[in-house]
Structures are given as structure tokens and as C-alpha cells.
């Protein structure tokens, strides 16, 4: 059974890894996009999907190889919400705060998560196990409210179910890590 790309990407992103992508991978990314006009954002997508965020050294290297000043890279990375500048925790919990989820009480779900993990939205736990973030609409609005963890969607939740979700993550955890290993090429 093929694993959906987004799960693969997210799981990959969640796999334990070195702080920066291996150098040759960045060269590969740069070579792929260097000659295509306006492809900086695409290159950054490739980078983040491999490393989970945009590390400074990698950004510098990428900029050097693609002939883009670092300042331009940061201008772009800071404008777009999708890009992360710091390494997130291993399990990225995205609570959807889109309208459909909002109407079904996602704010309560989020604050439950914050309490449960003792961190605020946008932060990772000190042990780097979990990263909690709010997102806007994952396109499964018919199943609101929902959260996704490394791309796996937990849907039709009750707003007081944050504890339950974290338990489920802990149960599903071995799976996610195994998959990540499978995908680690």
C-alpha cells in the first residue's frame, strides 16, 4: 500500500535527525531548482520536507548555491507561515482552527492540548517529543473538529478529548517511527 506523500513527508519530518540536512542533499535541491525562475519557495519546501524546518546553515548553503542572498531567503521564510525556523518536536500536532473546526469547538481542543502538554501553541515540549501548532483548515472540514499528527488525521473529535488524542499518539507512535525508518531511503 502506498503511503500518501503528505504522511510520508510529515513522518520524515518527524524522524530523529541531525540539526542540518546532509550537505549533498542541499546541493541536490539547489541543482533541481537553480535554473528555474522564481523557484526559491519550491526549494525551501523541499528543504523543509526533508529536515522538518529551515536551519540557518542550510539556508546559507542553499542561498550560496542558488545565488540568492540570505536576506532574500529570510524575507520569504518569515513571510510564509508554512516555514519553520526552528526544529520542531518529533510529533507535530496541528490543531485545525479553520472555521468549520472553530464552530465545533477547536479552541477548547487547543487549550486542552496546551494544558496537557504544558506548552503554548507554537512551542515544543522541552524533551522535543511534541510540537503544538494551530493550522487553518486541512481540507477535511466535513470531519471537524480535527487534529493531525505528522500528517495522520484524528477526526470528529470531542472538544474535551485532548487527553485521548495524546494517548492515541502514544499508541500509534511505534508505527510512525517504523514508517519513518522505512522512508529514510
Amino acid at each position: 500500500m502506498s503511503i500518501p506523500a503528505e504522511v510520508a513527508t510529515a513522518v520524515k519530518a518527524a524522524a530523529p535527525k541531525a540539526p542540518a540536512a546532509p550537505v549533498d542533499e542541499i546541493t541536490l535541491i539547489a541543482n533541481k531548482w537553480k535554473n528555474k525562475r522564481g523557484s526559491l519557495i519550491m526549494a525551501l519546501h523541499d528543504l523543509q520536507s526533508r529536515v522538518g524546518y529551515v536551519p540557518r546553515e542550510s539556508a546559507m548553503k542553499l542561498g550560496h548555491l542558488m545565488d540568492v542572498p540570505l536576506a532574500r531567503i529570510y524575507e520569504v521564510v518569515t513571510f510564509y507561515n508554512y516555514f519553520k525556523l526552528e526544529a520542531p518536536g518529533k510529533y507535530v500536532i496541528s490543531v485545525c482552527l479553520g472555521t468549520a473546526c472553530h464552530i465545533k469547538g477547536s479552541a477548547e481542543l487547543l487549550s486542552g492540548m496546551e494544558k496537557e502538554l504544558n506548552i503554548k501553541e507554537g512551542q515544543s515540549t522541552p524533551d522535543k517529543e511534541y510540537h503544538l501548532q494551530a493550522v487553518r483548515c486541512l481540507g477535511c472540514c466535513g470531519l471537524a473538529p480535527l487534529v493531525s499528527v505528522n500528517g495522520k488525521v484524528y477526526a470528529k473529535l470531542k472538544t474535551n478529548e485532548s487527553h485521548h488524542v495524546i494517548e492515541r499518539i502514544q499508541i500509534d507512535k511505534p508505527m510512525a517511527v517504523a514508517d519513518a525508518e522505512d522512508l529514510a531511503d
Binding site: 500518501p4 522564481g38 519557495i41 472555521t99 464552530i103 486541512l138 472540514c141 471537524a144
Partner: protein
């Protein structure tokens, strides 16, 4: 591929399909995948194989079948009886579906509703949810596998392209204009006119861009179309390109829709391999190809000039228009930006004619419209209705009222740029003009149902907060006005507002509408203004008592 080969391939595929007695379609769109639709497909395949029924039963994926809240949905189509639609099927139920339904049907039984547990998982196809919808953009969903090119070709796919290749650019524009198709991305600009304007600008290089940013949070129509029928959008873009002499196509899809990106990329690879896209489109000597660009989580990038900046790899900030993209767009070349649903309508119009399309709808708004029906609606999902259907029919009959059993208070259409429409206006027929008159707008198709327990003040606050957060900050009316308005609204929600604050909100809103550079700022006050217009008492109820305000 030569044009005649389309017919050969279609006939071959149809013959292949005919050879199966039963065809199973499991929704493999994002919503259902999140409840393990792929596991269901694997389960069905395994069971069919175990029973050595592979020659008789075909197991397929499918686009969204609408009732996403009840997914994964599985449709059984048989030559000998009516379709059956199963809901909330889990992988471990796959064997029962085959054993209790498929096998008896193969043996000649007629089954309307299976008994036992599966009966609980069978939807009534005579429910208004299904009978009152009119499928055209969605007509392939549930009937073909979006990952198979030949399935699309067998359903008249790329026939419209073939027709377009025999027409002049002007003729195609005329046909689109006659159909009355208007942009489904929000503003409702006549598509034929936009194409014709772009056609008339002389240039060696021109771009046709598909706007798949779908920034309205709580709306998923465009993502569903890209996932469920990617070839239809590609075909629509090829025809658009012919109509305006475009030389390059670009898909801009939000990064939060990885499955849509994957499906479009796969469809493009298939179309290239088949000679439908690339160096020699349908052996006509015409070369045309596409590029893929991903968004990165900025709502403003749905605005066309910001979208262009984003494709150029820059921060997605809008710029003043004119010059319009038709004159100066991507890389300073003439460009046309169209919404996904707009483009998906194009092949149908060309193939069936402008008259066919215009036969549905109202005087000014033709065809059908997709809506993402969510919130407190009983039936949550993706629906397609003819323009001109009343909101009441959409919400109460198709939507089935509320899941809470409470009375519906209002719907919100048009997302952060739209507004709330109170229940007593529900007899209004759906059209661009009507929704605008009610202080909302068609928008891209988000339709959120709220019940009497929901607060419109808080919903207005939610949307304004969204817009303030998503403002690119380039111009002051939006940046400062939005923040100021939100501050006042927060005050009212906290029970600390005064009548004066409502007046100030109105004033700031007017300034934002008039002076903002792009439609984000211009329309950001709409949800709040519509809420005040239709539900002023909900605001005044929350104000400080008059005596306190004087003190």
C-alpha cells in the same frame, strides 16, 4: 496521440469496464483517507482476490462523493441493479461487503439494503441530499478513478480539447461568453470576457494560471475537484490556453493540500506520456506544458497579484491594479488567473454547448455551484447545486438542518470576505447578485451553518482576527484599521463595549473598504458589518449598561 486515438482508447476502456459485473468505488479523497479509505480499498482488493473474483469485480478509488462526514464511502455499481452507497466502512468490514452484497449480486440477487450490520452502513440514495443536487463539475466523482487517465477518457475526457483545437481563439472566447460562466473564485467576473481581454493583448509569452490556493478556512471544494478530477482541470486550462494564445500553464496549489498536488502531478505525467500535454498536443503541432508551484500558508496569496509575486518566489504582497494581470502579470507578461472550479466547468461547456450551460441558473448567474457545507449542518460535505436554488433548499433539504437539532440561526458564505445571512432570508435564490445584496457574497463556496446557540459576534470576531492575522501589512487602512476594529470587537465580546464602539467600528470599516489596496482589506469588515446589520441586538446585548458607561 492522434485525435482519433481518443475514441479508440475510450472504446477499449469502456469494453474493459463492461466486462466487470460489479465495480466498487471507494472515496480516496483526503477526507476519507483520514479515516483509512486506503485500508478499505486494500481490504476489498484482498477479499476479491481471495474469492478469485478479479475478473468480475473491479476495485477502484474515487473522488469525493459528498457526504464526507460519513466517510469512507463505498459505492457499488452493478449492471443488474441500482447502486448501493455504503458509509463509514472500516477496513475490517471489507470482507462483509464482498460476502454479503457483492457475491449475492453476482449470483443474481437484487439487494436494496443489506440486512444486519451493513444495513446500518447503507445510505438512502433517495434522500434529498442526493436527489436535489445537480452534478456536473462533480459528475465523475464516484464513477471513475481520478488516478486513471483512461477512466477520464472513457467519460468523454479530452474530447472538448479536441474540439477546441479545431476552433479559433475568438470562437472559444465567444462560446464561453455565451455560456454566462462567471469566475468561481469569488468575484464572479465573466470568464469569457477575461479570456477575450487576455487574448487581445499581443505577446510572445502568456500565462494561464490555476488558482488552487483555496484560502477560505473551512472550504475544500477546489481541493476536492483537484483530487477527484484532476484531468478536468488540466483540460480546462489547455482550452483556456487555446482561447488566449497562452504559452505556459502554472498550477498554484496550497501546500496544505499534498494529495491534490500529488494527483495533479500524476495526471500531468499521464497526459504528457499520452501526448495530451507537451511538445505536440493531440498531434496538432501545438506545444504546451505546465509548472507546479506550491503556496506556503498565506491567505493573501489567493489574491491574483500576490499570487503572481509568490510564483515569482517573492513575498506574496499585492500590488495596485491596473495594470491588470491580463496586461502585465507573471514575469511582466500577460496572464490570466482562473479558479479551479471555473476551469473544471470549461470542458463541459465546450462539449455540451453554451446553451446547455446557460439553461441552468438565474438571469445573471448560470450553471451550478459547489459548496462546502459545514458547521452545524447535519449533512457535512461537498455539494453541487444549480444556481437559483433557494438557500433554504440547500441548507434544510440537502443539508438536512442541524445536527444539534437546534434551530438554524444563519449561514456564513464567502468566508472571511463574506457575510452572515439570517434564516429569515433563506428563501433567496443562490446567485452572485442576491448574496451580495444580503451583505454577503458567493465567495468560493464555503457555507457554514450556525445554530441558535452560536454567537454571531464571536464568529465576526473569529473572521476579523483571521484577516488581521493574514493582512500583509503593506497598506495602512488594512493594517491599522483592521487592528483597531478587532480591538473594539474584542472589547464588545468581553462585555466592555459601548454604543460608541459600534459606531466607530462602522466608521473604520468604511475607511477600510474604501482605501485598502487589495480585496483582503476591502472585504475584511464584511462579516462584522453583516453581523451588525442582521443581528444588532446580539451586539447591544453585550454592551456595558448605559449607567456604567457614563460613570
Amino acid at each position: 496521440m492522434k485525435p482519433e486515438e481518443l475514441e479508440v482508447r475510450a472504446a477499449a476502456e469502456l469494453a474493459k469496464q463492461q466486462a466487470f459485473d460489479v465495480r466498487l468505488f471507494t472515496c480516496s479523497s483526503r477526507g476519507c483517507q483520514s479515516s483509512d479509505a486506503l485500508g478499505v480499498i486494500a481490504g476489498l482488493k484482498a477479499e476479491v482476490k481471495a474469492r478469485q473474483l478479479e475478473g468480475k469485480v473491479q476495485v477502484n478509488g474515487s473522488g469525493c462523493m459528498g457526504l464526507c462526514s460519513k466517510g469512507p464511502l463505498v459505492r457499488m455499481c452493478s449492471k443488474t441493479q441500482k447502486d448501493i452507497l455504503f458509509s463509514e466502512i472500516k477496513p475490517e468490514m471489507a470482507a462483509a461487503v464482498v460476502e454479503q452484497v457483492v457475491v449475492p449480486v453476482l449470483a443474481g440477487s437484487k439487494i436494496e439494503k443489506p440486512g444486519g450490520d451493513l444495513g446500518q452502513h447503507t445510505l438512502d440514495l433517495n434522500d434529498p441530499f442526493f436527489t436535489m443536487q445537480v452534478f456536473s463539475v462533480l459528475e465523475n466523482n464516484g464513477k471513475m478513478d481520478p488516478e486513471k487517465l483512461d477512466d477520464y477518457i472513457a467519460r468523454d475526457g479530452y474530447k472538448a480539447l479536441r474540439k477546441a483545437l479545431g476552433m479559433s481563439a475568438e470562437e472559444i472566447c465567444k462560446e464561453m461568453l455565451a455560456s454566462g460562466l462567471r469566475g468561481r473564485g469569488g468575484a464572479g467576473f465573466p470568464t469569457g470576457l477575461k479570456w477575450d481581454l487576455t487574448r487581445k493583448v499581443p505577446s510572445e509569452v502568456k500565462y494561464i494560471i490555476c488558482n488552487g490556493d483555496e484560502g477560505d478556512p473551512g472550504a475544500f471544494m477546489d481541493g476536492s475537484v483537484l483530487e477527484g478530477d484532476p484531468h478536468a482541470v488540466i483540460e480546462g486550462m489547455l482550452i483556456a490556453a487555446r482561447a488566449m494564445h497562452a504559452t505556459h500553464g502554472v498550477f498554484y496549489i496550497r501546500a496544505e493540500y499534498p494529495l491534490a498536488v500529488e494527483r495533479v502531478e500524476k495526471a500531468l505525467r499521464q497526459a504528457r506520456a499520452a501526448g495530451l500535454v507537451g511538445k505536440n498536443v493531440l498531434d496538432s503541432g501545438w506545444a504546451f506544458d505546465f509548472e507546479m508551484r506550491l503556496g506556503a500558508g498565506a491567505f493573501v496569496c489567493g489574491e491574483e497579484t500576490a499570487l503572481i509575486a509568490s510564483i515569482e518566489g517573492k513575498r506574496g504582497t499585492p500590488r495596485p491594479r491596473p495594470p491588470f494581470p491580463a496586461v502585465r502579470g507573471l514575469w511582466d507578461q500577460p496572464s490570466c488567473i482562473n479558479n479551479v472550479e471555473t476551469l473544471a466547468n470549461v470542458p463541459l461547456i465546450l462539449l455540451r454547448g453554451a446553451k446547455w450551460f446557460a439553461s441552468r441558473g438565474t438571469e445573471e448567474s448560470k450553471g451550478t455551484k459547489l459548496f462546502a457545507l459545514t458547521g452545524k449542518s447535519k449533512n457535512n460535505g461537498l455539494v453541487e447545486v444549480p444556481m437559483g436554488m433557494t438557500l433554504r433548499d440547500v441548507v434544510e433539504k440537502i443539508g438536512g438542518g442541524t445536527d444539534s437539532g437546534l434551530k438554524i440561526k444563519a449561514i456564513q458564505t464567502g468566508g472571511p470576505s463574506g457575510g452572515m445571512i439570517p434564516e429569515h432570508e433563506f428563501d433567496t435564490p443562490v446567485s452572485y447578485e442576491n448574496l451580495q445584496q444580503l451583505g454577503s457574497m458567493m465567495g468560493s463556496g464555503g457555507m457554514i451553518v450556525i445554530d441558535e446557540n452560536d454567537s454571531v459576534v464571536e464568529l465576526a470576531q473569529f473572521y476579523l482576527d483571521f484577516c488581521v492575522d493574514e493582512s500583509c501589512g503593506k497598506c495602512a487602512p488594512c493594517r491599522i484599521g483592521g487592528t483597531q476594529m478587532l480591538h473594539l470587537l474584542n472589547k464588545i465580546v468581553a462585555g466592555k463595549g459601548t454604543l460608541e464602539d459600534i459606531k466607530t467600528i462602522r466608521k473604520v470599516a468604511k475607511a477600510m473598504q474604501k482605501a485598502s489596496l487589495c480585496a483582503l482589506g476591502q472585504t475584511a469588515p464584511n462579516p462584522t458589518l453583516s453581523a451588525i446589520r442582521h443581528f444588532e441586538h446580539e451586539f447591544t446585548e453585550r454592551l456595558l449598561p448605559v449607567a456604567t458607561t457614563k460613570a
